[in-house]
Symmetry: C3
Subunit: 304 residues, 3 copies
């Protein structure tokens, strides 16, 4: 697996995979030898994400299993991209449900340790992987459903927003939102675009400026999630929603999805390197580094 | 009438009527000889649409009377464009109410027989007429009110969306939506733009991908229609809404309407020929033709 | 003060202050001699607006005190711009609350006497000052809260829309909206853009075309204001909301605000002179002048 991870990371790092060449070279190889490479696709558990594909329904489940909080480290992002690409290239798979094996948390978002005290090269690699995940997820041809069985701040919220449908456990202790401002940092424009496409301009403006984390009922009220269910009904509901979406003809549904999301996807594709440079110069500022260190200290203290 | 239809169809076909030259040559001729051409405008019934103009109020009613389902055939579209242009150029007319004489259906949308087994030239003519209708209706200087006394899928929904105000009979058996995906086809970008302008990005994304037909109460809840009324109150309500809109100074209201809709109208004007080519190549695909034939078979079976 | 006003007016008139050179030359001078210029900033009352800065909280209050209706005359706009710029350049100030000392009215909007029977040069100066106010207010780095203790039509509504948060007294006799069409005139595109960013496209389209003034409860329902409170709770609530917004790190919040509003601000900056010429040619039309004179007559009769 390490070799595959290395290869994929190289691809992610190069950042030259244009959306129009989907599937990329590596993906094409998969297609050419389905017998060999599809087998591990049925159920493959990597370090951080368990992927299970039910061939009868065509639905895969990706279960985040990276305690304590499913944070999006470079390794997590890379594994996520690879898994997603495998499923995207697998004709047996038409939809993916995302959920968490960690109690109370879906994903805590981007791993702050990746943004703290590292080299510009590392920041670039990390940010390119983050972009890559969003481009693949928001632009996926598969039906994507977020089954949110815990809180989902920042990058965790982005994953949810990038899906076609969001179901959240109705527990008001679980919250979701792009709370970057609370940490002294700023959500990039494509996080914002995805947010605005989901909840509209005004709610996004207010929520982003305040770095709000919205408890599940509030998130539902404002359209940040589509539906609330009791925890024990979550997987059943996700499967039912998936079945509803899969009842539509794939091709027409995919073209329609692309029509809705293309403008926003294209914007990042057109400004990808610039966005990486912006991220590096912003995150490298001493004031930002200091505030991230303080935030990590606070998290450590809270734990102990 | 055949001659007039032929002339109009030629205009529609040529597709060279830019919005800025409104009214076109044919329309100017109308203006120059009001005595001759305005007379039939008072009440003129063509084959598929009855047009009545009440000169005291300045309000015309266009009643679709093309059973069984007021489908938008090339003839229907052509007659619609001509009637609309006549009213647009008639100083006595300031507003139009659209409604149906066919029970339970406002309009079933684009006529599938026009898209099945025909020549590329026919597809081009049909699509240009569809574009023309939308450009005229969405960009109309008149106040336009849809009085929806029946279901309104696909192109029927587009007509409603292109009006200034939508009133629907509160019968939950009547539904409205852009359900193209259900048929295996895709709503063009300007259907989508009109939909997004009405209900916002998120609702549009979900509804378009699922090809949803929303029962009247749901359509009202999500802003797809502005108001629900009992069937017997529909015309009275439409007249009252029209009177409210006509109470405003025409010129300021028209400039404001144009400001709100210009970006989306301009987008089609700029990509009109490209959009026609896209339509032809999409609809000519054997897979699409097959799925349309299957849909028509299903409709036939349902009838018998 | 007259000299300062003259200087500022010259700046406003020249219209060459690009947003990217903020603070402008005059502002920089302020920064260089804080002891001299900051002192009057603590509490300075000009003719039309009382400005009070509470240094302990960092919150200023700008109270409109220009009876009978706080109309936005050229003098009012100029004073408003100067006060806002002073606060913007004052490190002790992080937020501003806008409210009125005139009973029942927040601001009646642009002063019609400035648009009636004047020279093109005057119209240009007046419109440039209106643009300048909006550019400064909508683009302000400070937290801005509108405490609406009265009606707020047209330009008064624009001021409210340009703030970060709007609180209105729950009195249904107080209304708010962009009612320009009622007067036979048209809100410029940047009024419209600000409106759409707040309430969405569909509500804006309908409300602008009808020139609607929405009573407070309706305004709240449609998101035109964020919150309703009893009159006696207004200032307390405004202070509490301000404290909530000021709890966030300034820099991250400001960058986020700019990200949300930049596209719309840039659009006016790019078309500023064109917009002035449009205003002059529109307002100079005899038909428009006539309808404004009639409106003023009506207002005079109503008073007596």
């Amino acid at each position: 697996m390490a070799a595959v991870l290395g290869l994929a990371r190289q691809i992610v790092r190069s950042g030259v995979l244009p959306l129009c060449h989907w599937p990329p070279v590596w993906g094409r190889a998969t297609r050419q030898s389905p017998g060999f490479l599809l087998a591990p696709c049925r159920t493959f558990s990597n370090k951080k994400i368990l992927v299970e594909l039910d061939e009868s329904s065509g639905v895969a489940t990706m279960t985040f299993k990276s305690p304590p909080v499913n944070s999006l480290s470079l390794d997590f992002l890379t594994e996520f991209c690879i898994s997603l690409e495998k499923l995207e290239n697998d004709r047996a798979c038409r939809g993916v449900i995302f959920t968490s094996a960690v109690p109370k948390i879906f994903s805590s978002g981007l791993d702050i340790t990746e943004m703290c005290g590292k080299s510009p090269e590392h920041y670039a690699e990390f940010w390119r992987a983050t972009q890559e995940l969003w481009l693949r997820l928001y632009g996926s041809n598969m039906v994507t459903v977020a089954a949110l069985n815990g809180s989902s701040p920042a990058g965790g919220c982005l994953i949810a927003l990038s899906c076609d449908y969001r179901i959240m456990v109705e527990n008001p202790k679980f919250s979701i939102g792009l709370n970057e401002v609370q940490l002294g940092i700023v959500a990039p424009f494509w996080f914002k675009d995805t947010f605005v496409n989901t909840v509209g301009h005004r709610f996004a403006e207010r929520s982003l400026q305040l770095g709000s984390l919205h408890p599940a009922p509030e998130a539902h009220k404002f359209g940040l999630v589509d539906e609330l269910v009791p925890e024990e009904k979550l997987q059943e509901k996700a499967a039912a929603v998936m079945a509803q979406w899969l009842a539509l003809p794939d091709h027409a549904r995919q073209l329609t999805k692309s029509m809705m999301r293309k403008a926003v996807l294209d914007r990042l594709v057109a400004h990808r390197e610039e966005d990486i440079q912006n991220f590096i110069s912003f995150i490298s500022k001493e004031s930002i580094q200091k505030s991230l260190r303080m935030y990590m200290e606070m998290l450590k203290k809270r734990k102990s």
